[in-house]
Symmetry: C2
Subunit: 343 residues, 2 copies
């Protein structure tokens, strides 16, 4: 458990050393061209798009050598950096920061108590000088101690209003349009699509169906423990300040087995935290699609890989090349990054 | 964790004090009458059947006051004693006994080592004299130490051939025909059906889709921990001799939240181990169906409730009456118990 705890803490910690906020230009591309379920209009023609369409064609070709029965068409998607952006910090950490500010009036003691005091002065770096322990306090102060319903409402309210610090967009407007199209295309071809993310499972579920078309029961993520209680005869699930499961790295195949119980035939990620998920997917028999989104676009999004604190892609990039996995070059392969936002 | 461990051990232990094997007569009723998706031909007309059909009618009536959108039509089913029989012992424990015998040649030390020695002499009672520790050894010797794929194959082979000690039927032929019809009926009405069982999640998944029409990703159950490893470059999930989650009693709402992430609108159980699941389901807003299967048929199945070591129904029966939950009288309400088996 300590190892697991260390990993989640380390994951959250690294995001905070990334101080520079990159600039971003939102491109509102034309939605009208090619709106068929599988037209993938935001994908430029090229090897990445072709690998996807070829794979779908062969596993759905009834009677063909690579045909996969619909119930086995399981596709798993990482979230941060794969379905939505993750710079300059994981969005869930920006939620933590917002919540600490929001909750501060109810916690006068935070004015003098670290890591809260520094954070409330806007000094993230000092707040996190306390390392894992400090980060754990921030996470648990904002994620534990309430019922599951209360937490769901908090996330729902936040996601409906909070804006990204650089783009000024809602976070749900910073999803990747090409991936939204890919999700639809897979479902139109009989796939069941799942999120398998290092992010908090209950942080994603309140909006995953509306934004991605992925219902709560198809979201796999990290979690804290919960406890069933009767409060004045009314049953509640109370969120406890204790890590239950870390769905990252080698935890992803474990999370897949726990929640899905069969091996995916397609897996999509963007970082080394997705490597074991792609390995697990690739190791099954029959046709497989393993794909890395490579962040290469400094103008429309961000460019980062081996040296990044958030979403590091290093070992995974090497393995993708050795194994012939698809590597999406965001700059070249994606006609549009973010969805068109209605004004 | 000790508490959790104690509970699963206690659950497994009680099944062994039930020494008497009841006699059972399999009734092969006529399948030809009423085969519509929702005809429920194995249900006799009466208040139980009417409660079910009324509930389905009102939540699916578009524009009606109780209409529930399809994505929210979540129905959860206990397995042991609700979807299949559980006497004279939970079938998973009969699997344990069979496996110990099967594995014995590879473990010569078991000849003199308890609890294995007694068990191999056919003396279950002495084998379990060592209480929880002994039971834990038996369970872990048969459920841990192999990969997830190896365990799946073992279960698949066993369930295809092993026979119930009294009826001589395959275990999958000891499912309840009225509940199979109910599962189909719910799905035909846009429900997503889940198993939420105290039994092992990986013990149910290899056959749940074929037998119940419930795919692996809709099975929630108890589990041991697993670990991702690369063995000669090949990824495997190794099953560890450590309890991960006990999906029983207050664990059931926790399991539901973890795996499904929304509250069911219908819940079906047969024992006090299902009480919190029914409470959790009942506490939501809008129309709800909470149903207990009451084992009342000494001729065609078994009759047991408050005093039973397996599937005790005591507090649940009281609460069902106070709250007006449906209580199925198996003897009166079910025209047929087990499915017709082709000779």
């Amino acid at each position: 458990m300590n190892n697991v705890r260390n990993r989640i803490m380390a994951r959250l910690l690294v995001i905070c050393v990334s101080a520079a906020f990159f600039s971003v230009t939102v491109q509102a591309a034309d939605l009208s061209s090619g709106t068929g379920a599988c037209a993938l209009p935001s994908w430029n023609d090229g090897p990445a798009k072709r690998s996807i369409t070829d794979f779908i064609a062969k596993v759905t070709k009834d009677g063909g050598p690579d045909f996969v029965t619909p119930s086995e068409r399981i596709a798993v998607f990482d979230n941060d950096g794969t379905l939505w952006a993750e710079q300059p910090m994981y969005f869930q950490f920006l939620f933590v920061l917002d919540r600490i500010k929001e909750l501060a009036p109810r916690h006068p003691e935070w004015k003098t108590q670290e890591p809260f005091a520094s954070l409330l002065r806007g000094d993230v770096k000092s707040a996190l000088a306390g390392g894992e322990r400090a980060l754990g306090q921030l996470v648990m102060a904002t994620h534990a101690g309430m019922t599951s319903e209360e937490f769901e409402k908090t996330v729902t309210d936040w996601i409906a209003t909070a804006k990204h610090p650089k783009t000024g967009r809602l976070y749900t407007e910073m999803v990747y349009q090409p991936m939204i199209e890919l999700l639809s295309c897979l479902r139109a071809n009989g796939f069941k699509t799942f999120i398998v993310s290092g992010g908090g499972i209950e942080f994603m579920r309140p909006w995953s169906e509306r934004v991605y078309g992925i219902p709560p029961e198809q979201v796999v993520g990290s979690s804290i423990k919960t406890k069933f209680e009767l409060r004045d005869g009314r049953p509640v699930l109370v969120r406890l300040p204790e890590i239950n499961f870390v769905d990252d790295g080698p935890g992803k195949p474990v999370g897949i087995q726990t929640h899905i119980g069969r091996r995916p035939i397609a897996a999509f990620g963007n970082s080394d935290g997705d490597l074991q998920m792609l390995q697990w997917t690739a190791a099954g028999t029959g046709a497989r699609l393993c794909l890395y989104v490579h962040h290469t676009d400094t103008v429309r999004e961000w460019a980062y890989d081996r040296g990044s604190a958030v979403g590091r892609l290093d070992k995974g990039l090497d393995e993708a090349r050795v194994r012939g996995w698809v590597v999406v070059d965001m700059k070249a392969d994606w006609r549009r990054i973010f969805p068109l936002v209605k004004e």
